[in-house]
């Protein structure tokens, strides 16, 4: 009966411990309770749990009863090859020492001898999968033979301890990674982050969302996500579109103006992601967005300014062209079109053409080929061999265009009156290239070459204002060089113009 009572007691201990371990989440408390119960059950009042510290290759007295506070939670002993503990862990089963003075298999740690320990049993605690967690150690101050029933009881006890310890260790790891995750997310105040359920009702509203949108978690949770959409977007069912897209594609962009609690607007760049169980069931939505209102406002301002500027430039170009048209009309009505008025009107028209090309090319540049072509087409048909043009695409700035056009106009007028374009016999070639000088300054080289002209002294080159326009207008502010000479059978003019 005695044996039966003892067995019943030990069964009771195992059952009590199992229950306690299920209820508790505190590993230290569970281990302390385990030591107390096993010390009682075996009648020694002394037991401890040693935990392997893998990094340090040592054993920590993690819990214990019957031991000084200076030892429990403090003492670490090296895992030496010849220690009783290492021996038991390697054996993988309970190792009994009846009398440590007669023990020959291993050494017993000095602190245990000092405490008067005479007999002990070491039971390895294994985690699921077989990895050793440590040892359950029961000590006695007198010579004792731990019987078969006792070692079996301790094996069972250790077999329960293993999974219990494993569960709590895992929970602790999970808790700390969850805690890290929570701290990270809560610190991300520049990002509005929240979760919603499958009906898109807000379930989790993180501090970043409060910082960006103004509602507290209490106010936001339970509301539909659409509360942050503008009335216009709700009208256009953008909130619906977003979650439908997230459901279909996995993720939907969320880049739009949103409303804050106080009614002001905030521009968010972010996305809405559908969250699903492994089996595909929709669990809800994760919404993450960054407040980029400042940037957005400056961009919109810039766009508005650019658009306004474009309108203004177009209006100015329109007015300049009109003004030149008005001047031409006034001149015609005032002066007629004979004599000096003819030259004046022709120059006004050259200016108008240049102005027209400037507005055609967008804003403030015009192309050399187009300028030359427009000027010559006002006088003649451009077709080789009589008139040939060739050169790359070169853009001139608004500063250059006016004087360049006037110079070309004077050359063309000269050619019509005295040179290659006067009758059917002469030829005109206009060619241009761009090259860089030693200071990396790009220059336009344009050659105006007339040939087949019956050169009569004094009748080939105009004097006065026209020539001045060719030779001085370009050089004055544009640093161009113009060489204007009379060759054997016509005018040769080379214009060298630094490009901007």
């Amino acid at each position: 009966m005695l044996d039966f009572a003892r067995i019943m007691l030990r069964q009771q201990v195992l059952a009590d411990f199992g229950e306690f371990a299920l209820r508790s989440q505190d590993l230290d408390k569970i281990l302390a309770e385990a030591c107390r119960l096993v010390g009682d059950a075996l009648g020694t009042g002394r037991s401890k749990i040693l935990e392997i510290q893998h990094k340090e290759r040592s054993l920590l007295v993690r819990a214990g009863v019957g031991w000084d506070p200076g030892i429990v939670g403090q003492l670490r002993m090296p895992m030496e090859e010849h220690s009783s503990e290492t021996f038991a862990i390697e054996a993988g089963e309970p190792v009994v020492t009846q009398d440590i003075s007669k023990e020959e298999r291993f050494d017993v740690p000095p602190f245990m001898k000092e405490a008067g320990v005479v007999a002990l049993v070491n039971v390895p605690i294994l985690l699921p999968g077989g990895r050793a967690y440590g040892l359950l150690q029961v000590d006695d101050l007198k010579v004792r033979d731990f019987g078969e029933d006792e070692t079996q009881f301790l094996r069972t006890y250790a077999a329960i301890l293993g999974p219990v310890i494993d569960r709590l260790l895992m929970a602790r790891t999970l808790y700390s990674s969850e805690e890290r995750f929570r701290l990270t997310v809560e610190a991300a105040l520049d990002y509005a982050i929240f979760l919603s359920d499958p009906q898109d009702r807000i379930t989790d509203w993180l501090p970043g969302a409060q910082a960006v949108f103004g509602w507290t978690a209490e106010e936001a949770v339970g509301q539909p996500s659409a509360i942050i959409f503008t009335p216009e977007d709700r009208e256009r069912r953008q909130d619906q579109w977003e979650i439908e897209t997230a459901c279909q594609e996995g993720v939907a962009p969320n880049v739009r103006w949103h409303v804050r609690k106080d009614g002001s607007r905030v521009f968010i760049e972010g996305s809405t992601r559908a969250l699903r169980d492994p089996d595909g069931t929709l669990r809800g939505f994760l919404k993450i967005g960054q407040d980029v209102t400042e940037r957005r406002r400056s961009e919109e301002q810039l766009r508005e300014n650019a658009a306004r500027l474009e309108v203004l430039v177009a209006e100015l170009q329109h007015r300049s062209r009109n003004l030149l048209g008005v001047i031409t009309s006034v001149a015609y009505k005032t002066l007629g079109e004979e004599g000096p008025a003819a030259g004046f009107l022709a120059r006004l028209q050259a200016l108008s053409r240049a102005q027209g090309l400037l507005s055609e090319f967008g804003s403030d540049t015009a192309e050399v080929g187009a300028l030359v072509r427009a000027e010559l087409e006002a006088h003649t048909e451009i077709s080789p061999p009589k008139v040939a043009l060739s050169g790359p695409r070169v853009l001139l700035t608004v500063r250059q265009v006016q004087n360049f056009s006037l110079a070309i106009h004077e050359l063309a007028t000269n050619a019509v009156k005295y040179g290659a374009l006067r009758d059917g016999t002469g030829q005109l070639s206009v060619t241009w290239t761009v090259s860089q000088d030693e200071t990396s300054q790009r220059r336009l080289f344009l050659d105006w070459t007339e040939s087949g002209v019956d050169v009569q002294p004094g009748k080939v080159i105009r004097r006065g204002y026209g020539r001045q326009l060719i030779e001085r207008a370009l050089s004055y502010a544009l640093h161009a060089k113009t060489e204007f000479v009379l060759g054997e059978d016509g005018v040769l003019c080379r214009i060298q113009l630094p490009l901007e």
Partner: protein, 133 residues
């Protein structure tokens, strides 16, 4: 010449203007009034070189404010202030707000007629007439 009132005769006037056509015309108007035109030049650099290179003092200056590519005539005005040479601004940009040191200088808004230019330069010179010769 008939348009010469005498006030401009032999006066040395610096002309700074980046647009050739306008510079050419203003130069002609001043010359016909028998003034001696220094320049015209289209840039700050060339204007300052001219000012330093002149042995004789200038009697006055006509400055276009906007010289293109963001350049303004203010550095020239500063130098003329130091030298005590009177000047006027001729500008096509009515929005330009002259800096404090140049405020109070006469200003002509383009387009400028010959009569306006000559009258303005005459009154500029009259403000510091030299002793009668």
């Amino acid at each position: 010449m008939s348009e010469a009132t005498g006030l401009l005769v032999g006066r040395r006037i610096l002309l700074v203007e980046d647009e050739f056509m306008i510079a050419d015309t203003m130069e002609e108007w001043l010359r016909r009034a028998s003034a001696e035109v220094i320049g015209p030049v289209p840039s700050v650099k060339q204007a300052l070189e001219l000012i330093e290179g002149e042995a004789e003092a200038l009697d006055g200056a006509v400055l276009d404010v906007n010289l293109g590519r963001g350049e303004t005539a203010y550095p020239i005005a500063d130098r003329l202030n130091e030298l005590g040479v009177p000047y006027l601004f001729a500008t096509g940009d009515v929005r330009i707000i002259d800096r404090p040191t140049h405020q109070g200088r006469p200003r002509l808004n383009k387009p400028i007629s010959r009569a306006q230019l000559l009258r303005a330069v005459e009154s500029l010179l009259a403000s510091r007439l030299p002793p009668a010769r």
